[in-house]
């Protein structure tokens, strides 16, 4: 969408960096997003690209979403000494923020995450000085940075190798090199669980979303790999392509475990019903902290097919009842 074709209220948004486009999942709106997908602007807003997935409200101690937040609730561990005085202040603020009046809030001016060296870049320079510097290390947000523990040298080498492989990988749908796409948010791979054909995240998500096409063969074509027709149940976003099955499993595991730390908004702490049920990647946790028990009720019919009974809630009958 060009800025000319947008209403004036939306053209203003062009100057505002999109929050999602640097996150691991990417911005699902792509070109249609009214916010800026310019990397230069985003870099100005958050001093380090790899920090962009950390919730800034959490860093201030005031994230209203709590465990449901889509951003990472982690504090950067490898802070330079300059930032050290901020840390205790944030921790002290965290518990009483809800009781505090808003007037005290401006006193704690939002502290942007302090700039820190990309740990991968510096470690790679020490470990393998011969390796050529890759632009993507600095430019692209990385899935590998999301882990809390420091990577060892083996992991660095592994990452270097993965980046070198990723450079030349072409998407099977748009036929472009994924890491050479114009828009930075589109430089993401969508990994299919069923096979190892590369696609960019936008393309494969776009294709799997075409279920409303008349006569579409959803299981045989849309939910399958466009190249080999191997069915996949979900797409895993990643900023690097994998070298072997081990790497692929690691990327998928990392993605699934990351989602498993976020509360499911459909389940809504037991108040709602999640359409994905036991297959949901998000966490199904009740308000008291206990996890949902996954017990499936099955029944077999006369034809020998086994079906799963969806749990029925009394509240659904009550809300539909005319007596109340």
């Amino acid at each position: 969408m060009s800025p000319m074709s947008m209403p004036p209220s939306l053209t203003k948004l062009r100057a505002v960096p999109c929050r999602y486009f640097l996150s691991a999942g990417g911005c699902t709106k792509g070109h249609a997003c009214p916010f800026s997908h310019e990397f230069t602007i985003s870099r100005g807003a958050s001093s380090d690209a790899s920090n962009s997935n950390v919730c800034r409200f959490f860093l201030q101690g005031t994230c209203a979403y709590g465990s449901k937040c889509r951003y990472d609730h982690v504090r950067p561990k490898r802070l330079p000494a300059v930032a050290a005085p901020c840390a205790p202040q944030q921790q002290n603020q965290q518990p009483p923020t809800k009781s505090q009046t808003p007037s005290t809030a401006p006193a704690s001016t939002p502290v942007p995450p302090p700039p820190r060296e990309n740990p991968w870049a510096s470690r790679a320079a020490n470990a393998a000085a011969a390796a050529p510097p890759t632009l993507t290390t600095a430019a692209a947000p990385s899935m590998f940075d999301n882990g809390d523990e420091e990577g060892d040298d083996d992991a660095v080498l592994r990452r270097e190798r993965a980046l070198a492989i990723s450079e030349g990988v072409e998407c099977g749908i748009c036929l472009e090199r994924v890491l050479a796409k114009d828009v930075l948010s589109e430089r993401r791979f969508g990994i299919l669980t069923g096979c190892s054909h590369p696609f960019c995240l936008m393309c494969i998500r776009g294709w799997r979303g075409t279920t409303d096409r008349p006569g579409a063969d959803i299981d045989g074509a849309v939910r399958a790999c466009p190249l080999c027709r191997a069915p996949s149940h979900f797409v895993v976003p990643s900023t690097v392509w994998f070298a072997d099955e081990e790497d692929k499993d690691a990327i998928i595991q990392r993605y699934v475990s990351r989602l498993n730390n976020i509360d499911c908004r459909h389940f809504n702490q037991g108040a709602g019903t999640c359409p994905f049920g036991t297959s949901c990647f998000y966490r199904h946790r009740y308000a008291d902290g206990t996890l949902e028990e996954t017990s499936l009720r099955k029944y077999g019919n006369a034809d020998g097919e086994v079906n799963i009974v969806q749990p029925v809630r009394l509240a659904e009958f009550l809300s539909r009842s005319h007596i109340l």
């Binding site: 070109h31 099977g172 749908i173 748009c174 036929l175 472009e176 393309c203 776009g206 294709w207 075409t210 096409r213 006569g215 579409a216 063969d217 045989g220 074509a221 399958a224 466009p226 190249l227 027709r229």
Partner: protein
Amino acid sequence: MAARLRLSKELKEISRDKDASLVLAPRDDNLFTWTCALTGPSDTPYAGGRFHLLLRVPDTYPLAAPTVTFRTRIFHPNVHFKTGEVCLDILKTQWSPAWTLQSVCRAVAALMAHAEPDSPLNCDAGNLLRAGDVRGYNSIARMYTVECATE
């Protein structure tokens, strides 16, 4: 936008390896309408004929399939005799964005060699093949090839 990028990419790919039996080019510099001149496959009644196809590319390409029609009259079970409409599963339910316009044209050429008489658009041709009258089908198809597809 995505469609335009992909189509120009395909155009570049096509101009790199030229194939005399399959000449594919955009019509009037419009990337969303392409013409294709297809040579009939050998060992078929269409051998030696030159068949012209028109490919209309939707805005949502490659997520949606292009529509392919024959501009040259052809007697074939899966091609409508009057409109030239093609009945091919990969252009309908089995479409996948990994297909290119060139591979679609190759699939049409393969369809000419291996007709599917069980899902006919041209019932006369389908009935001939289903009744096992290969000789009758071949001679009619040959006649229309000589009549309409020979320049």
